[in-house]
Amino acid sequence: MALNPDRIDAAFYAELRRHYSEEEIVELGAFIGFNIGYHTFFGTLKFYPMFSPDGRLVGQEESARIYGAAPTSLSVAAK
């Protein structure tokens, strides 16, 4: 949806129906669309998580050093 929306065609939806109900597909699609929009917006605002991976309350400068410019998983950041 985010990178190649042309690939989401009738055949794609037919495959989805083998795994999910129509209600679940609507739920997934709306959730994904919402996140496509908001993550890009939030990315422009330059803010980072309030807590470090080990649960400490940290300032934004320290959080930026921990989480960096690119998204990382908590499991990787905790090591």
Binding site: P5, Y13, E22, V26, G29, G33, F34, I36, G37
Partner: protein
């Protein structure tokens, strides 16, 4: 035919959802089709419709400017459904198709748009085409034209509508 079939209007029994569908139809965006697809998950439908309508029609940023931005975003997302809808109150307030089209073209050189409107139109365009261009300097320029509350209003509106357009494009609406 949409890839997900809309429920019949008679199946929408939740009074809050029915009222939101009515509000969308009165606004013109969205019409009843998308709400009847979302209505397969009524609690989602209510939350999403409320956010669509409030972010578009309420707040302190000019609704006509938001309507121009909304159509620009729909064209960026390649979504014929939202690109084909029009706000009734924006049209009643004098927004015409020439100005809507101008907002999706080279608006930077268009004297019909103020510096503040051009910043908002750039905000929408760059957020999804070149988000790295929306940096501290870009926001500093925005603060010369808008309050921080208005910038949040614009940013949330842009993000939400673009996301929903990315979704509705895949549903095959408006084709």
């Amino acid at each position: 035919m949409p890839h997900i079939e809309p429920v019949d209007a008679s199946e929408v029994r939740d009074p809050e959802l029915r009222e939101l569908i009515r509000r969308g139809e009165a606004l013109g965006v969205p019409d009843a089709l998308l709400p009847r697809i979302l209505a397969r998950v009524p609690e989602y439908a209510k939350a999403l419709l409320r956010a669509l309508i409030v972010s578009h029609a309420e707040g302190s940023v000019d609704h006509r400017l938001k309507e121009i931005i909304r159509v620009q975003l729909a064209r960026t997302a390649g979504d014929p459904y939202f690109a084909g809808l029009r706000s009734v109150p924006a049209a009643q307030a004098g927004l015409d198709e020439d100005r809507i089209a101008a907002g999706a073209r080279k608006f930077e050189d268009d004297p019909r748009f103020s510096a503040a409107e051009k910043w908002a139109l750039r905000y929408a365009r760059e957020m999804y085409l070149n988000p790295e261009k929306i940096d501290a300097a870009f926001y500093a320029e925005g603060k010369r034209h808008y309050t921080e509350a208005q910038i949040m209003e614009l940013g949330a509106f842009i993000a939400f509508h673009y996301g929903m357009q990315a979704f509705t494009r895949t549903l095959g609406l408006g084709r």
